[in-house]
């Protein structure tokens, strides 16, 4: 892993409309280039340069840090630091530290997980009692990819000092922009994610959703998370939206495909799940109510249905029943069965329990 010196200008991290910050940053780059020709702009306000050669020439890493700091500070306020790998070096710059070679791992270990900029991962690990990069790095490699995905694996390699940087750290357009061959009227959008930062669009969405919550109450704005379950209603739960909500939806490992659920209806899933099931009557050709026997069989072929006492609608098709005997081991045992019923154009998922039929979901 390369040993890098990072210059971080806290005042220039955010793009402004006129491009003044970017021009000042270009001035910083020019000033730093006096010490090393290979200065790489990383993202607005942050640039890096390789340490080895310049440090030898200018009399050690500490001396180099002082010189670069002095040069950059003449243009804008700046923080300078050195570490192995870009990720650690940016953090070192924030603290004005020179992390000795080979000690990057120890430097990162006490830092909180949130610093990886993956709030969802941090939240998940927090529940497992893992709160620092060091604890995360100590997890065995083999388990990481399967349980936390590619992003988690990348974060794990960085936390363990085996990789220098995260995927979204660099902003490739920046170099071209600084070189002047990109149109400045398309402002560089503050991009997702280093240290839990948010993109412009995310921030905008967050602001308007907060406004909607002021209007409707906090529970008025929710997101759906998928989980295991037998019925369509059980397969998702609504979670109050908060500014910290990471776009992600499904909780890892709790996907509906996770476990077999006997009695689950085959896909496709219904687009409408009624929060309160709707009463429905189901009759056979003679107008007799259709029931499900103790063995999970229909007493007669259903012929028509009536939703909430409305007019009878003939069925053009039906399928099932799928019996579900839930919690058979406990007192709250529920015996039920489900049936798909197709009327002119519409299709419903019906549930029968204790002799009563309900519309649980509609394939709307």
């Amino acid at each position: 892993m390369d040993r890098l010196l990072v210059v971080r200008c806290p005042d220039l991290l955010v793009e402004d409309e006129g491009g003044a910050a970017l021009r000042t940053f270009a001035g910083v780059l020019t000033a730093v280039e006096a010490y090393c020709p290979w200065v790489t702009p990383v993202r607005p306000g942050i640039c890096s340069l390789p340490v080895r050669g310049p440090a030898r020439y200018f009399g050690g890493e500490e001396a180099l840090v002082d010189l670069v700091h002095e040069a950059a500070s003449r243009v804008s306020s700046a923080e300078v630091g050195i570490a192995d790998g870009l990720f650690a070096a940016v953090l070192a710059a924030r603290q004005g530290e020179v992390v000795p070679a080979g000690e990057t791992c120890a430097f990162l270990a006490p830092l909180p997980m949130g610093i990886l900029g993956q709030p969802e991962l941090a939240e998940l690990l927090d529940r497992l009692g893992i709160r620092t990069l060091g604890e995360f790095a100590a997890l065995p490699d083999a388990d990481i990819l399967g349980r936390f995905g590619a992003d988690g694996a990348r974060g794990h390699r960085v936390a363990g000092g085996r990789s220098g940087e995260l995927a979204d750290l660099r902003q490739p357009r920046l170099a071209r922009l600084l070189a002047g061959d990109d149109t400045p009227d398309a402002p560089v959008v503050a991009e997702v994610g280093f240290w839990g930062g948010v993109s412009d669009a995310d921030a905008r969405a967050a602001r308007c959703l907060v406004a909607a919550q002021k209007l409707l109450g906090p529970d008025g704005v929710v997101t759906a998370h998928l989980q295991g379950g037998r019925s369509p209603a059980e397969q998702s739960r609504l979670v109050t939206w908060t500014t910290g909500s990471r776009p992600g939806g499904a909780t890892p490992g709790a996907g509906p495909a996770g476990a077999p659920w006997p009695g689950r209806i085959p896909p496709p899933a219904p687009a409408v799940v009624h929060p309160d099931p709707i009463r429905v009557d189901l009759a056979d050709t003679r107008g007799e109510a259709v029931r499900v026997s103790a063995r999970g069989l229909l007493t007669a072929a259903p012929d028509r249905l009536s939703v909430e006492g409305g007019p009878w609608e003939p069925l053009s098709g039906w399928a099932g029943p799928w019996p579900a005997d839930e919690r058979w081991w406990s007192r709250s045992r529920r015996r039920s069965a489900r049936l798909q019923a197709v009327t002119a154009g519409s299709a419903h998922l019906l549930l029968v329990e204790r002799g009563r039929w309900w519309v649980e979901a509609t394939y709307g």
């Binding site: 669009a201 995310d202 905008r204 969405a205 967050a206 602001r207 308007c208 959703l209 406004a211 909607a212 209007l215 409707l216 008025g220 704005v221 929710v222 997101t223 759906a224 998370h225 998928l226 369509p232 397969q235 998702s236 609504l238 939206w241 909500s245 990471r246 776009p247 992600g248 939806g249 499904a250 509906p256 209806i265 085959p266 896909p267 496709p268 899933a269 219904p270 687009a271 409408v272 799940v273 009624h274 929060p275 229909l298 072929a301 098709g317 039906w318 399928a319 099932g320 798909q340 019923a341 197709v342 002119a344 154009g345 519409s346 299709a347 979901a361 394939y363 709307g364």
Partner: protein, 257 residues
């Protein structure tokens, strides 16, 4: 390896017709190349329905049919590509979204904010989310007044958001930029007790604001057996005579109120 013989190279002097054709082609492709900020992508099966092959920011669509069967599915199918490519979306006024179905259509549930019970404040809530969300699906819980609808349309235009209205029984008093009508809906797979629901056929007709524009029509599987949306056949010609469903009475979408 792409070396071209000098005498085959297109030069302005030599082949003005080819140059004209190329510049015409460039003209046709230019807006698309420059339009990343102007358009929101949709699923491939829906591209042919939309005049730009995508959702135009600032525009309003209505989705409906004689019985509103499938209207929510079509709206979710419109959300899918936008949310998956990072745009924030919101669903206002629908109390019972089937999250699994939405996921199967390709919706990124983490980028779909749900406002299931906005109640009487539904218009204000919609206006609020239009401020910062790229695509809003609105199922008005109550019949909107014309002035209210007009304000929301104006807000969407001003904020460069896409407003997809599923009018349902409430209706929508404003003429949309694009009306998607759903007809000819039929489920396959469930017979007299055997099998299970597998897929739904529907015909979606897109009508633009100007009457001079020919309606576009696509027959879709929505959902198909995987829960996604796919084209049922090769695209119909807009005036294909084999689907007389269009001549029926106009749906509630866009005209009701």
């Amino acid at each position: 390896m792409f070396a071209i013989e000098p005498d085959q190279r297109l030069s302005r002097e030599r082949d003005p017709a080819a140059v004209a054709a190329l510049s015409a082609l460039a003209e046709r492709t230019r807006p698309i190349a420059a339009s990343r900020t102007r358009l929101l992508a949709v699923a491939p099966a829906l591209v042919g329905l939309l005049p730009d092959g995508a959702l135009r920011r600032g525009s309003t669509l209505t989705v409906g049919g004689p019985d509103d069967d499938g209207a929510l599915s079509v709206a979710l199918a419109l959300v899918a590509a936008a949310s998956a490519s990072g745009s924030w979306c919101a669903l206002v006024g629908h109390p019972g979204l089937g999250a699994v179905a939405a996921r199967d259509l390709g919706v990124d549930l983490g980028r779909l904010a749900l406002l299931p019970h906005p109640g009487p404040a539904w218009a204000e809530a919609t206006a609020a989310v239009l401020e910062g969300v790229d695509l809003v699906v609105l199922c008005p819980p109550f019949p909107p007044r014309q002035a209210m609808a007009r304000r929301l349309v104006a807000r969407a235009r001003e904020r460069r958001a896409v407003l997809v209205v599923v009018p349902g029984r409430a209706g929508w008093p404003e003429a949309p930029d694009l009306q998607l009508r759903i007809d000819d809906v039929a489920w396959e797979g469930a017979g007299g007790g055997e099998g299970h629901l597998r897929r739904r056929r529907m015909t979606v007709t897109a009508t633009g604001r100007r009457s001079a524009e020919r309606p576009t029509r696509r027959r879709l599987w929505l959902p198909d057996p995987d829960g996604a949306v796919s084209l049922l056949d090769a695209p119909d010609r807009p005036d294909a005579p084999d689907r007389p469903a269009l001549s029926g009475q106009p749906g509630r979408a866009g005209t009701g109120g």
